[in-house]
Symmetry: C3
């Protein structure tokens, strides 16, 4: 069984190694895959999005052990959530909101430490004392119910901004936002796109609020700041140094620069408005 | 068997991957856990502390392969040290001082390369040529004595500063120092604390020089620079932006800032004096 | 079987974790070793050199899965290359040039995605959609020919600059260049050296263009910028703060500073000329 780890612990300290040591003692045969430990400290939303990105590519049955936990030590619960495709273990702060949208049949429990464990445990490193042991117990065969009592409602993050402008049957544009950037300086938008073909672009409902619509391609452009950016297939379809919009590897529209960094060119930040302008608007 | 790796090699080069390749050839079934490879270059003391932090959470029998080695190529010995709980492999420069205090029955040998190996080996990458092969041989069943002759005395680091001020039977305060910071900017002190309860704080002898005493809680505060910092259970017990002192996940007093970074607020450095002031002092 | 991964994906995103998830589904028993994911974005030459460094230390049969791919989405081919010691999977952009010089009997195929896979795949993340699945299929027993049709010619990088100056039978110096720096700020040159002994230094033909010659040691020095640097065995052979040249762990002459960083002292960049001056020149 695979345990996929994600945190904001960084790699300078031994936090991650210690969690792996704890897991190795309880579930010595589990396969561990690091998703990332470089989530900006306390940034639950970026973490939730990263989990969403990785979800479809992990083996069936993967246990996602995610710890981005600005509320550690406060009253937020520790939870484990099981679905028909994977299981999540971490703090109940919305971390799994987008990932859980990928699967059905979610059942959640609150992880209860026994008294002895709670006595020994620290108030600041639940990754080591609560989440890693719970994930490891599940990986070695424990049932969800053994971890604690059922939970009715989980905390949820808001979905990213995404709306059709104009008439519903004949929209003029789609308004989204910049979700985050990647290592190459590309800007990832909230606009989900199923496929970009010769003459159309099909919006993909990657989140419940996202419209699923087929749009004629002619004249389509992405507007970010004061710039209109052409939608193309890949970097080399525009000259070096020029911006482009394209369907990224997770099915979201992204803005990049061929041979450069969009985040530097646009000086933009997470949350900035981005418009997908439809053909008519120009006519 | 688990080999836990720690070094100052960083992750930009292929040093760490090459050590793992060497291990895989000798001990293909060993489980590898990276503790960290981001120790500041040559900082043996930070490395020693990180090993101490990880020690209690690694599986019994773990082989700690640690390479922070400012004296590579000079006359310092290569050693392997076996205890009743784990084994250490690395340069004899004090790296294992604090970790070894966690276990009993230490026996040490000097790792001798055979002549052919020494001829092939480099003078600057003992991690690849000496330490990784030795750790892998131990992981695949070799006995300590097969690596080389017994060593009587190991190099040792000094223990961090930690002393009771005032009368022994009635101390007025505890003087320690800032050991290092973590990824979140928290400052970790040398003051060991077993447990912080409603009405008392029990000092924990984490190192031999550390006093083991039960102190009344009333009026306790940590003094760092010119600031008195309240001792609380966790971040959310103080307002956002305020400093707090708390028992960290390894049982040492730490100084943090709720929603912020103590290292930025205090502009302090490793080695700075920190005082745990006891109640009477205020009376 | 071992899959050794190298990329310029960084560790902030989940790109690497996603590749590992894909591999785990196809080849659940493969051992994964990360060489590095911190290659400067798009820097194929540095990546090629890192692969060359790691090559000799990986288990026989290792599959090198390397993705540094500034031309992703353009017409460059995806290739798999099998030799008598290892296999390479990645873009056909010269990435494996130096690594392949370490082995014989190379056979290459172009990786062809089937139509369904190509339809689903993204235009920007071939690591996930093409290279990781191909490496995993090879690791789980597929033959090279199952991936696609044979390729006659692979793209190749130029070899680093390296030439003997003066008369061939009696050279006055060797001219090379700075290839790259490492985590410790050492500068790695293109001058290959088999072994440095008491009275001679034997140049090693690490690349075909490199001369293989035995040079008398007396008066030898490395010239970088305007400074003559003594050739010694290891850091501690020069005073703290002084530069030194030495045979690095991969058999190339390196320039370092005892207790310091050569890259800061020399303010030099990749490609800078370095001269190995022979004794006579001084007479």
């Amino acid at each position: 069984l695979t345990i996929a780890l994600l945190s904001d612990f960084g790699t300078r300290d031994v936090f991650v190694g210690v969690m792996k040591g704890v897991i190795a003692q309880i579930a010595p045969r589990a396969r561990l895959i690091d998703l990332t430990h470089d989530i900006p400290p306390g940034d639950v939303r970026t973490a939730a999005f990263r989990l969403w990105q990785a979800g479809p590519f992990m083996p069936r049955g993967t246990i996602f052990l995610a710890v981005v936990d600005p509320g550690v030590g406060s009253e937020r619960a520790a939870v484990a959530v099981s679905t028909d495709r994977f299981t999540c273990v971490g703090p109940d702060n919305g971390l799994f909101t987008y990932l859980l949208a990928q699967a059905g049949g979610a059942r959640a429990v609150e992880i209860r430490s026994d008294a002895a464990q709670a006595e020994r445990g620290s108030s600041t490193f639940h990754g080591r004392d609560i989440f890693a042991p719970a994930a490891a117990r599940l990986a070695s065969g424990a049932g969800l119910a053994e971890l604690g009592p059922a939970v009715r409602e989980l905390k949820r993050l808001a979905y990213p901004r995404l709306e059709l402008l104009g008439q519903v049957t004949d929209p003029s544009s789609v308004r989204g936002e910049i979700l985050l950037s990647d290592h190459f300086g590309n800007l990832i938008t909230s606009i989900g796109v199923l496929r970009y073909t010769r003459d159309a672009l099909r919006l993909e409902p990657w989140i419940p609020e996202c419209p699923g619509t087929r749009l004629p391609l002619a004249g389509l452009a992405v507007r970010l700041g004061s710039m209109d950016i052409p939608i193309v297939r890949t970097y080399s379809d525009v000259p070096r140094g020029s911006p482009l919009a394209y369907v990224g590897s997770t099915g979201l529209l992204e803005v990049g620069v061929n041979g450069g960094r969009a985040i530097d060119l646009f000086q933009t930040v997470t949350g900035a408005e981005v418009l997908l302008r439809l053909a008519k608007q120009r006519g």
